[in-house]
C-alpha cells in the first residue's frame, strides 16, 4: 500500500533553503536563518495576521518545489516606467547587468550581495538581520534561501543625483520560487529616491521579497514600491524601514492584486523627531487578492507618521488592510494618523480593513479611520449631466479616487505610467460589476 502525502510548505521551504548557495561571508547568517526556519510554523488561517489570506494558491501552484533558474528574461518595455534614473535589474533574484544602467555616481555604493566588499559586510549583516524571522516566516525563508541581492549605500551628506530604480523581475516557464533581497543604507544627512518594482510574467512563479532600509540621522528617503504585475503571480514580501533621528521617509505603495499578494511593512520610528508619510493604492480585481499589513512602531519621542491608503476592489476580489500603530511608553509627543478608504465595484468584492492602535502614553495625538463605500452618486450625476455615460462616469470617478494619490508620487514620469497602468487594469482586470 502506498500513500501520497503532500509535503507541507514548511518541509518545502526547508528543502529549498538546503539547496541554496550563498556567499561565504553570510554563512553564519544563513545558519541562523535555517535554524529559525526549522522552528517556524507557516501561517494558517487561524493565525490572526493571516486570517484573510490563504496560502492555498501557493501550495497548489507548486512553486516552492524548486528555486527559479537563473533567468535571462527580457522585461517587456511597457512593464517599466520611463524614469530619468539609474536602473538595476534582477532577474529571478540575480543581478542582470545587461538590462541595468548602473549608477556611476560617487555618492552611491552599489554592490550585489555576492560580491560585497569586506568593509561593507558588517553593516550589511546588521541590516539583513532587521526582520524578525520568528514573526515573518517568509522572511526567514528568504534569509535561508536567497542567492543574491542588492546592497545600496548613499554616503554621508550626499544626495543621490538621480532616482535609483531597482527592478525584481520573475521569469520562467516552470513553477518556481524567487527570493528577492534589497538592503539599503542611507547614511546621515544623505538622501535617496528609490523605486522598488516587482514584475513578473509567468503564471506560477512565487516571489518572496525582503527589503530592509536604514535611514540615518537627518537623512531623507523617497520610496515607491511598485507592484503592478500580472494577476497570476504569487508574491509575499516584507519591507522594513528604520528611521533615525530627524530623518524623513515619504513612502508610496502602489499595487494591483494578484493570485496572492501580501506585504508586511514595518516602519520603526527609532530616532527622535523622525517623520514618516506612507501613501498606498491597491487595485484588486476578479480573482485577485492583496493583503497589506502595515505596522508603525513609534519607539521614541517627537515622531510623526501619516498614512493614507486607498483601495478599489472589484469582481470577486479581496482586499485586506491592517494598519497597526504602536506607540511605546517613551514615545511622547507623537503624532500618528491613519486613513484607509475603500471603494467596492461589485457585490462580490470584499474588503477587510482594520486599524489597530496601541498607545502606551498619554502625550500623543492620534487618529485613525476606515471607510468602505460605493461611488459618490452626486459625482456620477454631475458627470452624466455633462453628457458622460454612466459607465464612463463611474470609471472616471474610480480612477480619480486613486489618481488623487498617484498624482502625489514625487518621481518624474512615474505618476503618468501608474495612471496608464491603472486605466489598463480598469479596462481588463477590475471585474467591474454591471451597472444597475
Amino acid at each position: 500500500m502506498s500513500t501520497t502525502t503532500t509535503p507541507t510548505l514548511h518541509a518545502l521551504a526547508i528543502d529549498l533553503a538546503a539547496r541554496a548557495t550563498w556567499p561565504v561571508w553570510l554563512a553564519g547568517f544563513r545558519a541562523r536563518a535555517r535554524r529559525s526556519l526549522a522552528d517556524t510554523t507557516f501561517p494558517q488561517r487561524k493565525s490572526e495576521s493571516w486570517k484573510y489570506s490563504s496560502l492555498a494558491a501557493l501550495e497548489s501552484a507548486g512553486s516552492l518545489t524548486r528555486a527559479a533558474q537563473v533567468g535571462s528574461g527580457a522585461i517587456p518595455a511597457d512593464a517599466l516606467p520611463a524614469l530619468d534614473g539609474w536602473r538595476i535589474v534582477f532577474v529571478n533574484g540575480r543581478l542582470d547587468a545587461t538590462q541595468s544602467v548602473l549608477p556611476d555616481d560617487g555618492s552611491l555604493d552599489v554592490h550585489s550581495l555576492v560580491d560585497l566588499p569586506e568593509s561593507l559586510q558588517p553593516r550589511a549583516s546588521e541590516l539583513l538581520a532587521l526582520d524578525d524571522p520568528a514573526k515573518l516566516p517568509f522572511a526567514a525563508l528568504n534569509a535561508a534561501a536567497f542567492s543574491d541581492g542588492l546592497f545600496l549605500r548613499v554616503r554621508r551628506g550626499q544626495a543621490a543625483a538621480r532616482p535609483v530604480h531597482v527592478v525584481f523581475h520573475s521569469a520562467g516557464t516552470q513553477p518556481a520560487a524567487v527570493q528577492a533581497r534589497l538592503v539599503v543604507d542611507i547614511e546621515p544627512q544623505a538622501s535617496l529616491t528609490l523605486i522598488e518594482q516587482y514584475t513578473g510574467v509567468d503564471a506560477r512563479l512565487f516571489t518572496n521579497a525582503s527589503t530592509a532600509i536604514a535611514v540615518a540621522r537627518e537623512a531623507r528617503l523617497t520610496l515607491a514600491r511598485v507592484q503592478f504585475d500580472g494577476g497570476d503571480n504569487c508574491f509575499v514580501g516584507s519591507l522594513r524601514v528604520q528611521l533615525g533621528e530627524h530623518s524623513r521617509c515619504d513612502g508610496y505603495l502602489l499595487m494591483t492584486g494578484s493570485r496572492l499578494k501580501r506585504n508586511d511593512i514595518t516602519c520603526d520610528i527609532a530616532g527622535a523627531g523622525a517623520e514618516l508619510t506612507l501613501k498606498g493604492v491597491y487595485l484588486v480585481g476578479q480573482g485577485e487578492h492583496a493583503d497589506n499589513q502595515v505596522c508603525i512602531e513609534h519607539a521614541v519621542a517627537h515622531g510623526s507618521s501619516e498614512q493614507q491608503f486607498r483601495g478599489i476592489v472589484g469582481g470577486d476580489g479581496r482586499g485586506v488592510f491592517n494598519g497597526r500603530i504602536h506607540i511605546h511608553p517613551g514615545a511622547r509627543q507623537t503624532s500618528a494618523e491613519l486613513v484607509n478608504n475603500n471603494l467596492l465595484l461589485s457585490a462580490d468584492a470584499e474588503i477587510d480593513t482594520k486599524p489597530e492602535l496601541e498607545i502606551y502614553n498619554d502625550d500623543v495625538k492620534c487618529s485613525h479611520g476606515a471607510t468602505v463605500g460605493q461611488l459618490n452618486e452626486a459625482g456620477v450625476f454631475y458627470l452624466q449631466s455633462r453628457g458622460i455615460a454612466r459607465a464612463d462616469a463611474e470609471l472616471m470617478l474610480s480612477l480619480g479616487f486613486v489618481n488623487a494619490l498617484i498624482g502625489q508620487v514625487p518621481v518624474a514620469g512615474l505618476p503618468e505610467w501608474l495612471r496608464g497602468e491603472s486605466e489598463r487594469w480598469f479596462a481588463g482586470r477590475s471585474g467591474r460589476g454591471a451597472c444597475p
Binding site: 459618490n376 452618486e377 452626486a378 459625482g379 450625476f381 454631475y382 458627470l383 452624466q384 449631466s385 455633462r386 453628457g387 458622460i388 455615460a389 454612466r390 464612463d392 462616469a393 472616471m396 470617478l397 480612477l399 480619480g400 479616487f401 486613486v402 489618481n403 488623487a404 494619490l405 498624482g407
Partner: protein, 248 residues
Amino acid sequence: MLEIRNLHATVQGKQILNGLDLSVGDGEVHAIMGPNGSGKSTLSAVLAGRDGYEVTAGEILFRGEDILPLAPEERARKGIFLAFQYPVEIPGVSNLEFLKASLEQVRKAQGKEVWDAVTFMKKAREASARVNLDAAFLKRGVNEGFSGGEKKRNEILQMLLLEPALGILDETDSGLDIDALQVVAQGVNSLRDAGRSFVLVTHYQRLLDHIVPDFVHVLAGGRIVRSGGKELALELEEKGYGWLKDAS
C-alpha cells in the same frame, strides 16, 4: 424649446411639484422665482434627470420630444445644460480631462466636429479667461478646493464650451459677490441668441438686473402661481412673496 405640462413630481414620496406648466420659446429667457421650498430646485433636477426624483404625472417636451425616458447624459447630449447650485468636487479628475470627455460626447452626439487637442486647449483657455478663472484651474481636480464663486464660474465655463440649446441655472447667483455675479451674467448674455433659451432659477431679483428676462414666473406650492414680464421681479423684491399667497 421647452414645454412642461401638468408636471407632478415627488421626492422620497413627498409631493413637491403639483401640476406645473411652463412654455419656453426659442431664444427666450425665463426667470423662475419663489420662496424656499416652493420646488425650484426640484424642477431643475427633474429637467436634468436626476435619480430620486419621480415624475408621477405630466410631461416635459424638449424641442417636441418627450425627455422623461432619457438618461441625464442623453439629455445633455441633446443640448440641455444644468448649472448646479452646489457643483460637485471630483478629486483626481482634472478639469481638462473632464471637459474633454464631456465635449467629445456632446459634440459627437450633436454631429459637430470633435475638437483636436490643440483646438480644445485653446477653447478651454479662452473660456477660462472669459469667466476670470486662472488657466491653472483647468489642471486642478474638478471643483476641488474651489471657493463657492470659483465653482460657479467653472459652471459657466462649462456652459460656454458646451453651448447648450437650453441652459438651466439653478440658483447660480446664490452666495456670489458682485464680480462673480457679473461673470455669470456676461456668460449667459454672451450666449443669448434666437436659437438658445435659458431658465434662471433664482431666489433674488439681483441677478435679473444683469440678465434681463423676457418672462418672470413665481413658483409656489409646486405650481406657477403668477407669470409676468421683468417688472414682476421688481414687484416681488418690493413686496416679498407673502401677498401672492394671499392672492392665490
